[in-house]
């Protein structure tokens, strides 16, 4: 067989190279998408500015921004890890992109890892932006950065699992509608903007078992009150993460 332009020289690229390529592609898809940016950058920033400067709801004593910022960090995580990822992945499944990925040398777990990596990169941009805006609005940082990071990671895992579960099991349109609806409901009534302690005790107890309520309350305990790591909220997030990721692993369909 003579050596030609197409003579076989098969082989997968080294895993780090494949992972980096996919990570860059995923990040680029997130950052170049107008609707995604509205969701992940514009909405959290607007909520932060609006609720910190206008007396829309009673947020209790102290500077408003100190109560709003932890909730907005939870919004940032929800918007990227859950809503944005669910919608993007749902349509990738619809368009056959996932099927093609599944037949490529990049292992499926490597693909999911690259997606998670891009979610984390976007979240870093979001957190940096929100912290700067918060400082401009007079936010006084408190609490341990490590504990905040742990809560954000747990929240990201829980919401990513839920987002991928939706994207991998429902039709793309249902994921689009559902992910936006859940985002809106949690934003308004999940204890994110309005702290859970403003809710009736029964509602508050239930909402705190949901990932949005647990993440926002946990972040509020650490950032606003400088309190110790809220073990209950961390455990709630961990449980949601384990269950949703296991469910996504079992039921996720690549076509």
């Amino acid at each position: 067989m003579s050596e030609g332009a197409f003579s076989p020289r098969p082989g997968a690229a080294p895993l780090p190279r494949m992972f980096t390529a996919q990570l860059l592609m995923e990040t680029r898809l997130l950052l170049l998408n107008g609707e995604q940016l509205l969701l992940t950058i514009v909405i959290p920033t607007l909520v932060l500015v609006l609720f910190s400067t206008v007396n829309v709801v009673d947020l209790g004593a102290g500077r408003r921004v100190n109560s709003v910022l932890p909730g907005v960090l939870a919004i940032a995580v929800m918007s990227t890890a859950f809503t944005g990822q669910a919608i993007a992945t749902g349509f990738e499944r619809r368009y056959g992109v996932l099927k093609r990925v599944a037949l490529s040398p990049l292992p499926r777990w490597g693909f999911i890892a690259a997606k998670s990596g891009s979610v984390v990169l976007v979240e870093l941009v979001q957190v940096a932006l929100l912290v700067v805006v918060g400082l401009v609005l007079g936010w006084t940082p408190r609490g341990s950065v490590l504990e905040v990071a742990m809560l954000l990671v747990l929240g990201t895992a829980a919401f990513s699992g839920l987002g991928l579960l939706m994207a991998g099991t429902l039709r793309a349109e249902a994921t689009l509608a559902g992910a936006n609806l859940v985002f809106l409901l949690l934003l308004v009534g999940g204890g994110v903007v309005v702290p859970l302690d403003k809710f009736p005790a029964a509602a508050s107890a239930v909402l705190r078992q949901l990932p949005a309520g647990a993440l926002a309350s946990g972040l509020r305990d650490v950032i606003q009150r400088g309190g110790p790591m809220p073990a209950h909220d961390a455990l709630v997030l961990l449980a949601w993460a384990l269950v949703s990721i296991a469910a996504a692993g079992a039921w996720f369909r690549w076509e």
Partner: protein, 307 residues
């Protein structure tokens, strides 16, 4: 180790109550072009998907490059290239960027710029996938299947939706892949594509292989020949048969569409036309020749390839 690149033995795949593939057996020789030919719904895509390890067979075995594709996906995928029947590509990414991204997943990829030129996509490099024409989307998908320098490519309907010129370009590329030692498995419902490109053809219908062999073997079984013509429906076939040389057969394949089969030669043609003259029938679209794959398919299955 045999020289079979793909061995499918007794493959069965069901979707609920529907049996898409029903005991299919097929050998694909290395370094050849094998066409899986059949009408829509015959089970072509499902067969390919089982070979790719994307679907798990309900029964039977599939071996690809010596591997079980569902169990050894990690070892197999770097060695094969896949062109899906449609889609599979990020709609919002530009053609060149998609191809470069795919190339990065392989150890020794082809130069994306070379492939873009070869497939006539220079003008579309900076166009997003969703804005490419159907033919450009097909060619980009083909480029993605070969960019990793695979040993074996699965092309699912690689020329559907292409204009004749783009189809020629795709055929040229497939021939070059073969010359350079790549094994090609493609599906098609186009007879001429199979006859033109394939070393081996497997004709499938209702999830089974009904005939397999080279196009020559399939079309030249015996010295069979045929004369076909169109005329008024309901001609007297009994009378026509009596006028034909011994051993010939006359049929009305569709209303007004006649096939006369027999020992190929001028006598067969002459007897048909003289019978037509005696009965004042003008045979339109008269053609004589050896069997086509269409004839083979019709004989084996009793129905036309295209309904």
């Amino acid at each position: 180790m045999s020289d079979a690149a793909v061995q499918v033995d007794g493959l069965v795949k069901r979707y609920g109550a529907v049996t898409a593939v029903d005991g299919l057996t097929l050998d694909v020789k290395a370094n050849q072009v094998t066409a899986i030919l059949g009408p829509n719904g015959a089970g072509k895509t499902t067969t390919i998907e089982c070979c790719e390890g994307f679907r798990r067979p309900d029964a039977g075995t599939v071996t690809v490059l010596g591997l079980d594709p569902t169990r050894s996906a990690a070892a197999l995928y770097p060695r094969i290239g896949v062109m899906l029947q449609a889609g599979g590509i990020y709609p919002s990414v530009r053609a060149e960027d998609i191809l470069r991204h795919t190339a990065r997943l392989y150890l020794n990829p082809l130069d994306p710029a070379m492939l873009i030129e070869r497939l006539g996509l220079e003008g579309a490099r900076r166009t997003t996938y969703r804005r490419l024409s159907g033919g450009q989307q097909q060619r980009l998908s083909l480029a993605m299947a070969v960019v990793g320098r695979p040993e074996l490519v699965f092309l699912d309907e690689p020329t559907s939706g292409l204009d004749p010129q783009a189809r020629r370009a795709t055929w040229e590329l497939v021939r070059e892949l073969r010359t350079d030692g790549v094994t090609v498995v493609l599906t098609t419902h186009l007879m001429d594509e199979a006859e033109e490109l394939a070393d081996e053809v497997a004709i499938i219908d209702h999830g089974r292989v009904v005939a397999a062999g080279s196009p020559r073997e399939l079309t030249r079984a015996g010295e069979e020949g045929s004369v076909r013509f169109d005329g008024p429906p309901g001609l007297d076939l009994e009378s026509m048969r009596r006028a034909l040389p011994a051993g010939s057969e006359a049929d009305e394949a569709g209303a007004g569409s006649y096939v006369v089969r027999g020992h190929a030669g001028p006598r067969l043609l002459a007897s048909v036309t003289s019978w037509c003259a005696d009965h004042d029938v003008m045979p339109r679209a008269l053609r004589a020749g050896g069997r086509s794959l269409e004839d083979v398919f019709l004989e084996l299955t009793g129905h036309q390839m295209r309904q």
